[in-house]
């Protein structure tokens, strides 16, 4: 029996390399350096131009400061894990242009999969 296990062994190797300690799947961008993004007063992301075009706090746009490794949200989604105050002595960069996008409003996700965390196993 000659069996091609390309995906099986690749997945197993990846899981072993990660120590089977995987973070929950997340499609947000991750800040690879200290990053400043523009948000409204609730922390929901806005285009950076909104903060550049107005004085600080003017027009309801505020810089929000994310440390390295934090998630960069899509436009309209709430930023977490950062602060409206920059850390002293830290140089902040703007977010990558690829993260400047809105999640498609026509698509909802997350409607399947919740039972696995309740019951623990799909196996039969």
């Amino acid at each position: 029996m000659r069996i091609n296990l390309k995906w099986t062994t690749a997945m197993a190797a990846a899981l072993l390399a990660s120590g089977c300690n995987r973070a929950k799947a997340d499609d947000n961008w991750t800040a690879d350096q200290d990053t400043a993004i523009c948000t409204d007063a609730q922390g929901k992301r806005l285009p950076d131009d909104r903060c550049r075009q107005t004085r600080v706090g003017g027009g309801g746009a505020f810089w929000y400061f994310l440390g390295r490794g934090r998630a960069i949200p899509f436009y309209g989604e709430r930023a977490t894990g950062g602060s409206f105050r920059p850390a002293g002595g830290t140089r902040y960069f703007t977010a990558p242009s690829g993260s400047a996008m809105t999640r498609s409003a026509a698509i909802s996700r997350g409607g399947f999969g919740a039972s696995a965390s309740r019951f623990g196993s799909v196996h039969a």
Binding site: L5, W7, T8, A12, I107, G113, H123, A124
Partner: protein
């Protein structure tokens, strides 16, 4: 049927990991347990194979009875809105792997007895199809094994490939042990061996497109066919249940396995089988009410032996924990599993692909086979 004690290969962990089996460890003993094997005669394998084929015939009849009788389908604790999609899928027979694992009690003589049929999300697939075959080749190259499971899966994919769209999505959830991810990856390998293009996706990343009224993947592309390592009884209860119902009515996504598997994989089928075929040698008496004699209580929808209890003379002898049972129980007569070694009770998992018996895996545990069971390989003498 003899249990033989063996010395495991010195590098067995590396050997099974190289084939993808990374969840080989166990709490007290390894899950992949090659410190023993079971040896069968050819006649015993013939008996198991015949019983498997016969049980598949019984399930066909029972499925027909259930879809034809609303009162029977009502026994299954399935949301009524999904009854029509189940009936329609049963009649239409959309493309499916139609694979499953009959869990059987067998002591080497007499007729194998059915415990249940795991045919929606049956696992121990990689172990049965690939890892135990490689073990046999390494340790007993001159002997045979009841195992053509891998070839049967590839052949079945090839058979249904002409009826599938250009891309098949393979969905699973992330689990700590990696068992789901690797098993789903193995299913990808079997499909791609049949020439099917596959795309993996996590269940929680499946999207519903409100304007196009379809399920979409991470790249917002419409999902047209999907193998899901995720049980139907969860799908119909989750947030996307309403879009799912709409999707099933439109019929523009091929679900593998199809929704009619909710009938066969539900333990409510067991009393119906006994009613249809009373006294059948491969069945155990089963009922919806507590019987007088010794019995095993099983939730309709539990997985990995959770919330199963053994009742003898009105008292509970053994039971497993879990979160199941809200949907009700069935009661199956107690079958005395052979104690092949102290504390080792084997349950046979006889695999079927579209009606054909194609292989076997054996799990050992205590009186109730649960998620602490160990996979023990087998060979055929002669």
């Amino acid at each position: 049927m003899i249990r033989q004690t063996l010395t495991p290969r010195p590098d067995w962990q590396a050997q099974v990991e190289a084939l993808g089996l990374i969840w080989h460890a166990g709490d007290e003993r390894p899950y992949w347990d090659e410190s023993a094997c079971y040896r069968f005669t050819r006649a015993q394998i013939d008996t198991i194979e015949s019983a498997t084929t016969e049980l598949y015939r019984l399930f066909l009849a029972a499925g027909e009875a259930v879809v034809s009788d609303p009162a029977l389908l009502a026994r299954f604790a399935i949301p009524p809105a999904f009854h029509d999609p189940i009936r329609e899928a049963w009649e239409a027979e959309p493309p499916s792997l139609n694979f499953g694992r009959f869990d059987l009690g067998y002591d080497g003589s007499g007729a194998p007895k059915l415990f249940e049929f795991n045919c929606d999300t049956p696992t121990s697939l990689l172990e049965a199809a690939v890892v135990q075959w490689a073990w046999k080749d390494a340790c007993f190259p001159a002997l045979d094994q009841f195992n053509s499971l891998h070839e049967a899966l590839v052949a079945r994919w090839a058979e249904i490939a002409p009826h599938l769209p250009s891309t098949l999505h393979i969905a699973h959830v992330e689990d700590v042990a990696g068992e789901d991810a690797v098993t789903a990856a193995y299913v990808r390998d079997t499909a791609e061996a049949a020439g099917i293009t596959t795309v993996p996706i996590l269940m929680e990343r499946i999207g519903w497109h409100h304007e196009a009224h379809c399920f979409v993947d991470d790249a917002d592309m419409r999902i047209e066919a999907m193998f899901k390592l995720y049980p139907w009884e969860w799908l119909v209860q989750e947030e996307f249940a309403v879009p799912l119902l709409y999707n099933l009515e439109r019929g523009d996504l091929i679900w593998i396995e199809p929704i009619w598997k909710m009938i066969w994989s539900n333990k409510a089928i067991l009393p119906i089988l006994w009613d249809l075929f009373p006294g059948h040698p491969n069945l155990l008496p089963a009922s919806y009410t507590i019987p007088d004699g010794d019995a095993v209580a099983k939730p309709l929808l539990s997985r990995e032996g959770a919330n199963v209890s053994i009742r003898k003379s009105g008292s509970i002898l053994a039971e497993t924990p879990g979160h199941y049972g809200e949907e009700g129980y069935i009661y199956q007569s107690l079958y005395r599993l052979p104690e092949a070694a102290p504390g080792c009770f084997p349950v046979l998992g006889s695999w079927v692909v579209d009606g054909a018996a194609v292989g076997m895996g054996i799990r050992e545990d205590g009186l109730i086979t649960s998620n602490t069971a160990r996979f023990v390989p087998h060979v055929i003498d002669g």
